[in-house]
């Protein structure tokens, strides 16, 4: 059996807003194996983003255990967590979060600056390769405001790939995009998954969830359903079938 890259037990997260305590996660148990492609689904406010942020070491849980690749996150200090985010995790945000007035290439290079082992030449080459992988070879020197939403999201994906992470975490990565562009992004993720990357993808659209291998449904801070996707969508196939004038409307 494959290696359990993510193991979560009794994970809790509370937010304190004034007098009120919001229990965003109320005890999550979840195991994800290397090479999986998991959708985290659920209604708005069910705790999907909170979960993903903790998995991505961007936030700390209030309670419970989170082990990444066999290492318990609770024991790690800030710098060690930063190292993990840099080397093992790639994060894709719904709002892209690119640096403004900065070329695609420089945006993608950014994580490599924080990897002491990568020298300037290699940094440039890896960033170019990542941009080529997401199909933006001809847009390397464009600024974010000179690109479409889909292109910006692809830059963000290239940025999450550039350090060759074990796990890619995406929060509503297609939330701002039209159908065709969403399918293109999904096709990219499916390719990455085929290459062996573990991907965890938050979405509230059941259509999108059908591109993944397994769906985990959250409700009110708890997992209420877990299932393997039966008729999995193939993004390339759907793209080919999409009426050509679909995005003209």
């Amino acid at each position: 059996m494959a290696n359990k890259i993510i193991q979560v037990n009794g994970l809790k997260k509370d937010f304190h807003v004034g007098e009120i305590t919001v229990h965003a996660l109320k005890g999550i148990d979840l195991e994800i194996e290397e090479g999986e492609f998991v959708a985290i689904m659920g209604t708005s406010g069910s705790g999907k983003s909170t979960m993903l942020n903790i998995l991505g070491c961007l936030d700390k849980p209030t309670g419970g255990i989170y082990q990444l690749d066999g290492i318990s996150m609770g024991d790690m200090n800030k710098n060690a967590l930063a190292g993990l985010r840099n080397e093992k995790l790639g994060f894709v945000f719904q709002s892209y979060n690119l640096l403004p007035r900065t070329t695609a290439l420089e945006n993608v290079e950014m994580p490599l600056y924080y990897n002491g082992r990568v020298r300037a030449k290699e940094r440039r080459e890896r960033a170019e390769a990542a941009l080529e992988a997401v199909g933006l070879a001809d847009r390397m020197h464009h600024m974010p405001n000179q690109m479409s939403g889909g292109q910006q999201q692809r830059v963000a994906i290239a940025r999450s790939l550039v350090n060759d992470p074990r796990v890619i975490l995406a929060d509503e990565a297609t939330g701002n995009l039209d159908t065709r562009t969403s399918y293109e992004i999904m096709s990219l993720f499916q390719d990455l998954n085929d290459q062996g990357k573990t991907i965890i993808f938050v979405t509230h659209e059941s259509d999108i969830a059908r591109f993944m291998k397994r769906n985990v449904v959250f409700k009110d801070g708890r997992i209420v359903k877990e299932e393997w996707v039966k008729d999995r969508f193939n993004a390339k196939q759907l793209l080919a079938e999409l009426p050509v004038d679909q995005d003209v409307i």
Partner: protein
Amino acid sequence: MNYTNTLKIAINALRRNKFRAFLTMLGIIIGVASVIAMLAIGQGSKKSIQDEMSSMGTNMIFIMPGADMRGGVRQSASDMQSLELSDVDAIRERCPAVTAVSPQVSSSSQAVVGNNNWPTSVYGVDNEYLDIRKYSVETGRNFSDREVKTYAKVCLVGQTIVENLFPNGENPIGQSVRVGTIPLKIIGVLAEKGENGMGQDQDDLILAPYTTVQKRMLAITHIQSIFASAASEELNDQAIEQITETLRRTHKLKATDDDDFNVRSQAEMVQMFSSISDMMTMLLGAIAGISLLVGGIGIMNIMYVSVTERTKEIGLRLSVGGRGNDIMMQFLVESILLSVTGGLVGILLGLGASSAVSAFMNWPTVIVPMSVVFAFLVCTVIGVFFGWYPARKAASLNPIDALRYE
């Protein structure tokens, strides 16, 4: 992370935000420049007053009739005539600390040569007067003792007189200038002295033997003031003491009487003026201090705001694996680059402004090295601190909190 990377990231960040970087620097530039320029102007005017005053001779002593005016007491007319020629002789004989002495009587008159005329002052003096007042003869000669004794109709003229009465460049020596109704023969021209610290033209004068001015022009026997030189600046006080004693004796004053004259030294005047200009320097310093404060607060503001505004960027850098320390270093380097560059430009601008004021407004300036160091340090320290401190705060947040920051 290594230093080259930090430096590269910081430079890239500044390059991306040239305008914001420029505005931040502007605060520092203006803060530094204004302090330097203002203190330079203050110090310059102080020094020029001091220089002018001492070029008039710091060992000069002058004696005016009447009691000390400093209390604001009004003087009677007889007081104003209390100085006599005998006083001058007495000082010459009995005051060893005094090396030269000359009476002075003066009259304002119209000086006329041919079609040219010029309103000026004629001073009746003895021939030691030139030494006392630090005048020198450029061409011609000083008048002789004999000319003084015989009320000779001769005179020395200053450069301003030459320029106005001999506009075509004729040689004034040997020519006759009519002062009031009296024609005086020009026997010498004084070397140029320029303006004094109070803006008076020191070359706009005619010097004649005091006897000539007393008898022929004013028809008086008393003298209006006495000028003397102490042997050296250190002997000023001693000379003043001796003169006071001598004059009290010749004026037959009782021990209880106040002086009916007053003796002042040029050094005293220099001190008075430099304390006035000290006050001016302090005032300018205060203004400069305030502009430093305002500039500093401005720097604080823009640094703080721009770092706070970039909390999202900080969150992003944290989320891709930047460590708190890396990010703090980036902002530290950014603010050092901005502040130091701004400070250096500010120094250049301050020096430039000072020399521009000297050149175009004819206002003397002296750069105060301490002001340069101080203004630079204050501005850059404020700049660096307020660029670094908020960044340090933001970099210690959870990445997600920094990313969510609004």
